[in-house]
Symmetry: C2
Subunit: 805 residues, 2 copies
């Protein structure tokens, strides 16, 4: 059986591709200009014991979450070690791919960048889970780094079915999930990044007298460099040229990851079009808002009398996250914390990443590009969301200098999966949480993030319901359940929390911490606050796109808008007078022509996903409402010069499309490589299709306008850098479902005497809780476990964790 390719997209025979694959190709082992996966030597350490011993997969789950067997297999899960190794081995046996092992690959070898699960089409999955059909066949999504030609490209392939069998397993170009139909090819602007790095070191060497004079340092690619050079992302891609702007940064003087706080204010422009470095061109220098077309011109100005030399940004305590200053009163005493006196009250199938809490259940998927996603989220046995997960995260900067102005990170390029590090127990999640592992593929290895997902129940600091009178008081605890992961994509730590509540609501929250990417202060007052000696808090918009594929009581759904509007109106009883009051206006979103919009001013519009064929007994449509729970925002910049068509999803709060298996994701990891003609142009999802009573996908943007101020030093704090949205049942059930919980009390009293206390059967555990379990052994932190896939060596795992910078 084959994975179904949607009929609108023809199967491409493998022979079509062969031509472009054959040639004198040299693969570059890394697609990632920011990462040090490859460039820096990695130490390895053999395990003295089972590397998974401390993970949720074994001991922890035994001690807390109830074991359960998922009702069906997780068709969105990562490939396991054996599957991934088999695919890698099979790929190396395909001569037409002409692959070289990453570690051994020279500059013009082909290499494998990615081997992961190809997520099955919703159509096929529903046949399996809703209609008792067979499980969809398993395919791998493979990305090959083709550096063979003068026009190198990333190649998306589909490989399967799995398990690998010679004769039945095939590869084909992967094209159907992308709006651009180029057989899964995306041009690769990173092919020569080591050469470009050398180019930059040479440029820096050409002015090393100046860097020494200004900053007492050099950036030459040597171990004792005290300066770094890097710049814009995406590269300028106008007029068929590829142009980069770079700038110098001080390295921190210690282990703190503060480099993005240390810009130095000199910028250089290079045209790096093509693969022949001899044709690359220096195109100018910028210092203190003055542009110099040549090095000579810049040098001449620099050494002229009156040239203004500006200060440097140098690391110090201001850039360090450790405790500083006098300790506050009583702060050395251990603060309050949450405990779970009866252990976990939820169930997990660890192998299948399936979770049940109260009346909710869901599966967890994990991918390189976007990290964690949730699938088949059910409430009271009924699917509410088929899929809920991050699609892409944009950090769009602006500034008076070309590097800040030109920076618009599309973070799935780096990937949320590779940087979803081990969580810190008792800090990132409560100490009693259940922790699960996740894994991702890189360079013929699978890395496993130990304890990188946490699951926990929590008692909010406020109740969910309460009412008091002179004779009784009734209150219900607000117990909720959260799944969380944190991805540190370079300087920023994104915390993703998916929470479930007793009232049937579901929330998604993103918070940002870590180091800001800052700007050099000079001439930048219109783009940020002056926050340290020579530092500007570079203004930027975070916009994070989430896919929320709702299925409210079936696939046929509609978006209803309910507006609260002021009206002047007379009534049969108003004596002929007009009254100034308000009323509701209800409408539906008819088609993709009017399905891109923002949350209304003054929160006047309710946005609901309803099923018009499912009215409740009072005639109201059953549905879920979409409501910002904390601030949300979309991109300020209009028609961004940096992004062109690469992030068309960023311009509105809410966008709704008809579900298509050919439109599984609003973005592609390599959209930054061809911003005018990216592999996924989200605008193309909108082609006027009718949206009434059909399968809908909501694309929701969370985000914040971030204008860093001194309080962002050394790190931005999660308390203010947050965005969230909640989905809650509206006319969905006949009453508030939180009435089902026994975490409630009613107390009757009369003139000072309690006459009744009803706790509804919740066990009154008076056992002592040892505080010790809440005290995590912080020495058990490990980081990632790596298993080599080629050669496949499952018995020699080792620890290794890599981050960006």
């Amino acid at each position: 059986m084959k994975l179904t390719i949607p009929s609108t997209v023809g199967l491409v025979s493998t022979s079509l591709l062969l031509g472009s694959l054959i040639g004198n190709v040299l693969a570059h082992p890394s697609p990632d200009p920011k990462a040090n996966w490859v460039r820096k030597a990695r130490g390895r350490k053999n395990f003295s014991r089972d590397p998974y011993a401390h993970t949720g997969a074994t001991a922890c789950v035994d001690s807390n979450a109830t074991k359960i067997t998922a009702p069906y297999k997780n068709v969105w899960d990562e490939l396991d070690d054996t599957e991934a190794a088999a695919v890698v081995q099979w790929l190396f046996r395909q001569p037409e791919l002409n692959l070289t092992v990453s570690d051994q690959a020279g500059n013009w070898d082909n290499a494998i960048l990615l081997v992961e699960l190809m997520r099955p089409n919703k159509t096929d999955v529903l046949n399996y889970i809703d209609h008792k059909g067979a499980a969809p066949p398993v395919y791998a999504h493979v990305v090959i780094d083709h550096r063979a030609s003068v026009e190198p490209y990333y190649g998306d392939l589909l490989v399967g079915p799995l398990p690998v069998k010679n004769g039945t397993t095939k590869w084909e170009p992967l094209e159907y999930p992308y709006t651009r139909k180029t057989q899964g090819h995306v041009r690769n602007l990173d092919a020569d990044d080591t050469l470009q790095q050398s180019w930059l070191y040479n440029l820096s060497a050409s002015i090393s007298d100046i860097t020494l004079d200004l900053w007492n340092g050099t950036a030459l690619g040597l171990d004792n460099d005290t300066l770094d050079i890097w710049g814009i992302d995406p590269l300028w891609q106008d007029d068929g040229r590829i142009v980069r702007w770079d700038t110098w940064w001080n390295y921190p003087v210690d282990e703190f990851d503060a480099e993005t706080l240390l810009p130095l204010g000199l910028f250089v422009k290079s045209d790096v079009t093509g693969r022949d470095p001899s044709k690359w061109k220096l195109e100018g220098w910028l210092y203190n808002d003055i542009f110099y077309e040549t090095t000579k011109e810049f040098r001449k100005a620099y050494f002229s009398p009156g040239f203004i030399k500006l200060g440097a940004n140098v690391e110090g305590d201001w850039a360090r996250t450790d405790q500083q200053g006098p300790v506050l009163p009583m702060d050395k005493n251990y603060p309050p914390l949450a405990v779970a006196p009866t252990g976990a009250r939820y169930s997990v199938d660890v192998a299948r990443k399936y979770v049940e809490w109260m009346d909710f259940s869901f599966y967890v998927g994990f991918s390189r590009d976007t990290g964690v996603s949730l699938y088949d989220i059910r409430y009271k046995g009924q699917r509410v969301l088929y899929e809920l997960g991050l699609q892409e995260a944009l950090a769009h900067y602006a500034g008076n200098d070309p590097v800040q102005s030109g920076t618009s990170y599309l973070d799935s390029y780096y990937g949320f999966g590779p940087y979803a590090f081990e969580l810190l127990k008792g800090y990132d999640c409560p100490s009693y949480a259940t922790y699960l592992n996740t894994s991702f593929y890189i360079s013929e290895t699978t890395h496993t993030h130990l304890n990188s997902l946490c699951l926990f129940e929590f008692d909010a600091d406020f109740s969910m319901q309460r009412h008091s009178t002179s004779s009784y008081v009734s209150s219900t605890k607000n117990i909720y359940f959260t799944l969380r992961s944190v991805s540190t994509v370079g300087n920023y730590d994104y915390m993703f929390s998916y929470s479930f509540y007793m009232d049937g609501s579901i929330s998604v929250e993103v918070r940002a911490s870590g180091y800001i990417q800052s700007a050099y202060y000079a001439n930048n007052g219109d783009y940020g606050y002056h926050i340290h000696d020579s530092l500007s808090g570079s203004m930027h918009d975070h916009v994070l796109n989430f896919k929320a594929d709702f299925d409210i009581l079936g696939l046929d759904n509609t978006i209803e808008l309910v507006n609260v509007v002021p009206v002047s109106k007379s009534y049969p009883w108003s004596g002929g007078k007009t009254r100034n009051t308000m009323m509701l206006e209800r409408s539906i979103v008819e088609s993709e022509n009017d399905s891109r919009f923002n949350f209304a001013a003054n929160a006047a519009t309710q946005v609901k996903v309803i099923n018009m064929d499912q009215r409740n007994k009072y005639g109201e449509y059953r549905g879920y409402r979409i409501l910002p729970s904390t601030g949300v925002s979309h991109l300020t910049v209009e028609e961004s010069s940096n992004l062109v068509n690469a992030a068309r999803w960023a311009g509105y709060d809410i966008q709704v499309t008809k579900q298509h298996d050919t439109e599984p994701r609003s973005a592609h990891a390599y959209n930054s490589q061809d911003v005018s003609n990216p592999p996924v142009n989200f605008d193309e999802f909108f082609n006027g299709e009718n949206l009434t009573q059909t399968d809908l996908v909501l694309w929701l943007n969370l985000g914040m306008h971030h204008v860093p101020h001194t309080g962002d030093l050394p790190n931005t704090v999660f308390t203010t850098a947050h965005s969230g949205i909640q989905f809650f049942p509206t006319n969905y059930l006949l009453g508030d479902p939180s009435r089902e919980t026994v975490s409630m009390v009613r107390i009757n009293y009369d003139n000072g005497t309690v006459t009744e206390v009803d706790t509804f059967g919740q066990k009154d555990n008076s056992c002592a809780v040892d505080f010790t379990p809440a005290e995590i052994d912080l020495w058990s932190y490990h980081g990632d476990v790596v298993v080599r896939k080629f050669p496949y060596d499952p018995n020699d795992p080792y620890y290794e964790t890599d981050s960006i910078v």
Copy 2:
């Protein structure tokens, strides 16, 4: 020494008032048509022990918060028992007031409605706390219920100075804090509410055959009534007439407070102008959207063939808050909860209601009208806010029927103080919280709400800061501190939370639970969802006005607006090309002509309170930013027919005025009594004054558009009915102050082995925590303690709690 009356307002001699006070007056003991304070007999029970024994004032505080002595006395605190009793006794000795004790007062006697602290002018307080002057003299704010004339009125008086001394203590009309200058007189539309109630019973009796036929019940003012009658608030006040609309409600069949869910759909209009009931007029009936001008006409129609009779709303499990339905998996196990293993890490001066937590300190005030307020909120020893507290809460309904359409509760009329009931430990606040008492005056008694304020520290479910790399991970706990009270004003429970964070931020949150006030469903589809048999979830706007009197590094402050705006712009380095990007636009709010505005679309505008004379070392203005943390909204209705000028504060998100001692509050408890010409018309605060570098007050609206759906049955839940705002330091300090805490960790690791764990000296308490203390003795709930003031009987306190039916 006298309390300073601002110079713009002349002192009124007492003799001016005497004329209006003398007459054949009969006081009505209650101002409150909703309350059962007086109408229903109250049981009394003598204490067998100290009624305060279980309160924060004694045992609890000893066991948790550190005792501390406030730096100066709390000049905003309630009057103590002795002071209040002395004022009451003194008032009864003033013959010109001709007072009668409330319990004994007939319909035309004068009575005392309120005796509480008159909050001193900011000017006088700053002289005391900032300039080492004398403490302001203590005055009482007294409200007299003058029912003496055909035009009865509420009279605000100032009585003092206290303590009472014959000869020096005087009373005078209180006028200066109100925009309307009528010697503190406000007309009283409640003077004859018992007569009006009788009027309604008579109307009901005139159609009792119909009420029996429709609902099998009657409303006759008898003990066995199964129906209630009540209606709009405020009353219609057009054209010099006072008109009421009322409707019938089923009583619940048990103890649950569900009456507001049981409207019956028949409406009656009465003109009740004047004090002579013989001149009151029935003006019509409304049933099923048909208006009948007379009872005869209505009766004729009702008994005609084809008259459509609609169903009733009858209480059942759907309206009861108790646990219902099958118990969810594992829900009988005790859920997670917060504990405080080392006890309270904050300090309280219980007598002075003064609190210190980490680098924050504040005083707590409490009043009848608005409940809790915070004063002199300091951060790092520097005042940030002089005053922060609720001013008024509006619940503006709309509907196709005259009762919903005519309802716009201004809840300070009922008061947040009298209904700030005892908090439920472990539900409303964590079990380990510190609880304080509050008190209010009514009918010659002082009622003390035991444990009605809670103070607690909490560890959020997410960290405040974190950053991870391949070699270390750093994280800081998000420990915050909250003061909370809950007021149940009739059907709704408002939870007010003031929280303080380690990053220097302060938040205000309001959440709503309790029973909705619902509408009869017929013809109401444009005003609410049909949510039960004959029930509509009546749409309404909650708007809650807060005063935030900021003092950022002194009194001279300015509002700065920083906009994030899209721009097309070329740069020296852009090769002549225009780039689509964004930038900041900074402006200030110059005067009260442009100081009423809303939060911008797409959150594009930062609103900050800055001090332009206090730049930081980098030249940025130091200040606090105002940011919605959850949804906020202002009133939808424009030029409300119900409110006219009574809630002019409701129309914008933010409004800024120059501080004046004569404008202490945006509303008055009796604004509803004269909506066209209310005692405080907030519009009059805006008279074009310059707002740059002067003492500013921000009037902030929290709120929500509430369109109740089935999930609001039986109670609205706090999880979705919430609104919040946060204030956070922006360029205020030179870095993030949360770096000071030791509730953080840094872990260094290398290839799977932790090389360093630094917890910065926080004590690693491994002691066992007994779970038992987290288990509250729910049988210790008491309700309010009452002390009689006239005669003053401090040794005979008794328990009594009253709520609005």
